[in-house]
Amino acid sequence: MNDRIRKIVIAGVMGGISIFLGATRLGFIPYFSGASLTIMHVPVIIGAVLEGPVVGAVIGFIFGIFSLLQAAIAPTGPADVWFVNPLVSVLPRLIIGPIAWLVYRGLKNLNEVPALVAAGIAGSLTNTGLVLGVLGAFGYLPWPLIGTIAAANGLPEAALAAILTYAVVVPWKRINTKRQGSSV
């Protein structure tokens, strides 16, 4: 019972964070002229790592629906035109959580810290890959352009996701790392 309640609440709270990051634009980190990297999928990854694939999928669902609503009601950029299609905005996001969880579970027994970082990277790349994949399948963009975007945007985003996942989960779960004290 305790387990179930905790999963519900974490899913809700992380979903809320994802919505918050999108609504306030804080989740958009400025990159190059105009383009930005997002971290709105990181609550999905963190939720999945902490509570499992189902929770991850639920948070992903919330993230997806919200990005659809935002694209339709308060669009801010060209990509919002595509995100109005739930197959672009919702479907790929359902998968981020389970994949991040799988990676984390797989590597956890070796060493927890790289497992976290890998989960962050994997989750982020899933987001980039699947969203762009759907765009390509629908013919919204030519494939070569998709490849460029995947590399130019997807890789840095994966780095940010890894950093944030580490920075949040390590203190929260009191994981011991090599650092034994402050750097002062």
Partner: protein
């Protein structure tokens, strides 16, 4: 105002307006609106006929007109996106190679090729966008979040028997939505505190990683605080003997009324019409007609 106050967040959020005017649409059961809305969106995505989209759009427009809300409001956001919409449609029409296979070329220049298939897909892109946006505007004008929550919960209820956690899902969404204003307050507090110690949250550094690290003093406390809130909430729920969704009774009961059936009827007719237009290739006939008139 952005120049004067560095860390005020509350003003920046736009999630869509609930405008209570008491019209028929407002009084529709939340479930009706949800189901029709979802159906219309799905149909809009899967038809490949401009005529069909037009029919759907007209239906939504009709809905907007009877809400007694200024119809213009629905299209404010559309206006802002218009340039992007055209650019994206243009990309799809001219630069995506997939639509060049067995298609009739209409126009060509360097490596940009406009075929009948790509023209259609570009127009479909724009059409779908317009339909979905206006539909969601209609929805957000006429449904408050509480109504929405009740509707979702009710609809998922029968799935409870198939061991799908309907109540839990609705609860999760509820928590998420209510948590957002709390987060705004916390974020503002955290930013003020860190700024008072000289933090600059990544304004104007070159390296994007460096810039992101400068935002960690905001993000990390925010996440950790939220996880703590979650823990407190879970303890509170447990101490109140929350047992999950099976067998729960409800305080507010939803009932279908006459207007719901009318709405369903209109919706079904529109969807059927759209599907027919798509299946029977009404587009082609109209296109041929136009072509013959022009020549």
């Amino acid at each position: 105002m952005a120049q004067r106050n560095e860390f005020e967040l509350m003003g920046k959020v736009v999630i869509g307006q609930y405008i209570p005017t008491g019209s028929v649409v407002h009084r529709l059961d939340a479930r009706t609106k949800l189901m029709l809305g979802a159906l219309l969106i799905v149909v809009a995505i899967f038809v490949s006929s401009i005529a069909a989209l037009l029919l759907l759009f007209v239906t939504v427009l009709f809905g907007l007109c009877i809400t007694k809300v200024e119809v213009k409001l629905a299209f404010i956001s559309l206006r802002r996106v218009l340039p992007y919409l055209f650019v994206l449609a243009a990309i799809q029409m001219l630069a995506v190679p997939q639509f060049r296979l067995d298609a009739k070329v209409i126009w060509e220049w360097r490596f940009f090729v406009l075929t009948d298939r790509s023209l259609l897909s570009g127009l479909l892109l724009m059409g779908r966008f317009v339909v979905i946006v206006s539909l969601l505007a209609l929805f957000s004008f006429t449904t408050s979040t509480t109504e929405l929550m009740h509707g979702v919960e009710h609809m998922l209820q029968p799935l409870q028997r198939l061991r799908f956690p309907a109540h839990e899902t609705a609860l999760v969404i509820n928590i998420a939505i209510r948590f957002v204003p709390i987060l705004m307050g916390e974020a503002e507090r955290i930013m003020r505190a860190q700024a008072s110690r000289g933090a600059d949250f990544g304004t104007g550094r070159h390296n994007f990683i460096r810039r992101f690290m400068r935002m960690l003093p905001l993000f990390v406390p925010l996440f950790i605080l939220s996880l703590q809130h979650a823990q407190n909430m879970a303890e509170a729920m447990e101490s109140r003997c929350y047992m999950g969704g099976s067998g729960r009774t409800r305080l507010i009961q939803l009932h279908y009324e006459k207007q719901d059936f009318v709405a369903f009827l209109i919706g079904i007719v529109a969807i059927a019409g759209a599907l027919c237009m798509s299946l029977f290739k009404v587009d082609q006939t109209v296109w041929k007609g136009v072509m013959t008139i022009l020549s």
